[in-house]
Amino acid sequence: MSQFETVIGLEVHLQLSTRTKIFCSCVNQYGCAPNTNVCPVCLGLPGTLPVLNHQALLYGIKVGLALNAEINSFVKFDRKNYYYPDLPKGYQISQFDFPVAKKGYLNIKSGGQEKRIGITRAHLEEDAGKLVHDNSGSCSLADFNRTGTPLIEIVTEPDLRSPQEAYDYLNTLKLTLQYLGISDCDMEKGSLRCDANVSIRPVGQASFGTKTELKNMNSFRAVKTALEYEVRRQTQVIIAGEKVVQETLLWDDEKAQTRAMRSKEQAHDYRYFPDPDLVPFTIDYKIIDGVRAELPELPQAKFLRFLSQYGLSEYDANILVADGGMADFFEAAVKEYPQAKKIANWLAGPVLMELNNRKTPIQELKLSPQGLVTLIAKVEDGVVSNLVGKEVLTFMLDEGKGADEVIKEKSLAQVSDDSALLAIIDEVIAQNPAVVEQIKSGKPNAAGFLVGQAMKRSGGRANPKKLNELIMRRITGV
């Protein structure tokens, strides 16, 4: 196809959901009034000093282990020096040569193929503040609430070969990190941010082409679109016989194009050196083993186990695993009622639809695994039809009541009582002599029409199977 191969590397910054900031004891919380979660340390006041948050270090180790990485036994922090109004100290405390984790990987599925994406490193660092442009347009306003939020930066090897792969990697990474419970991984809230490095090279060439860095992509979709745009742009540049310039480009989602940063200082001399205010850390194997023991089952392992243990289809397993809460719910339900496929169908179908409509996570639904199981049993036992069952579910979620209660209160029970049905059937038969004739002359399928009519008259509450049975008996005597 293309004479060029795309090479992409991604840098993901994740805000960790520790209670306090990384180097001070201010609360770590999003969405507060400006400059209300600040202290002398995170404001970079003269004379202040950083002290590392224990939990941030443990979370860093957790991420490293989840990404199959080596945890460095000697870890230190370095200063990355540059000037920007959202950076109070004039340097960011980060990790340069001894990050928490290195040489990991993440297995992804892209285009139906399994692929291993190398993770070069994962390191801890502090977030900067926020700058907003004032409405007057003549100045900027700095809010330092976000300064000092713990970040983990995850850098891939340049192993991604298409914008689609990048997109799939991001989704897999996000899911894996969500399982760890160390971040809400929300790009809209800014707790997950992504920058991309992309270059192209002639197919077969070993050395890399010149790369550009893309920033300011606010969703995974935007990352994909931005990369597609940039690959096209670089291709055109090279075909025109020119050279790709190494630069940082900002993605403009509205205009669907990249633009160069207006500030001329592109190449930063960060002057990294070990932060003398922080001491080094030795992480011994006992700590690592302790964190490893607390790792939850990760999505890929769970997916495979769901296939083998419950015999689910890949489609169903994917949906269940895509939400850790749903996966747990599923397993709890199966314990009560060992009909894995049925439960999976309900979760992947009606329950998922309810979740999407209500925009809540499954943990916040007024539904317990037992509650779902009770409902499913009602459908299986014929107390309600499948269709009515979905209605029951909606009522259950709206009112927080059990299936039994809802069915009783709203009189939704399927009518299966012969005498009640016979009355309806006789009416229907009387009103549709032509159809009855058809049935008598050897077309039993026409009964379906009569069943439908009877269902309508019963307000949808008749048991269709029973109806069919009774109609046939009435008409044919069988």
């Binding site: 306090t20 400006p34 400059n35 209300t36 700095a142």
Partner: protein, 107 residues
Amino acid sequence: MFLPSFDVSILPMPITKEDVKYIAALARIDVPEDKLEGMTKSLGGIVQYVEKLQELDVADVKPTSHAVPVGNVLRPDIIKPSLTNQEALAIAVEAKDGCFKVPLVIE
């Protein structure tokens, strides 16, 4: 012993005016043209002096970042009170809408 034993000004300057301009930009300090020569000379003299360190063989020596061997200093993840917005902005050069006001930042 302490002072260099010869007149270092005869050596070629280790720092040029261009170097000084680059460093000044990195350090966000403006060195006006008329002060550039003086700064280059005085920095050059000091750099010349510290070249002394190149005499030593440090190939197998570990660097000392911390003189006293302290390690693994960690803080529990427990919230402590922050400053109020008023206290935070009390030191501000300019403030507006609860924020620190700065010149317009263009990306």
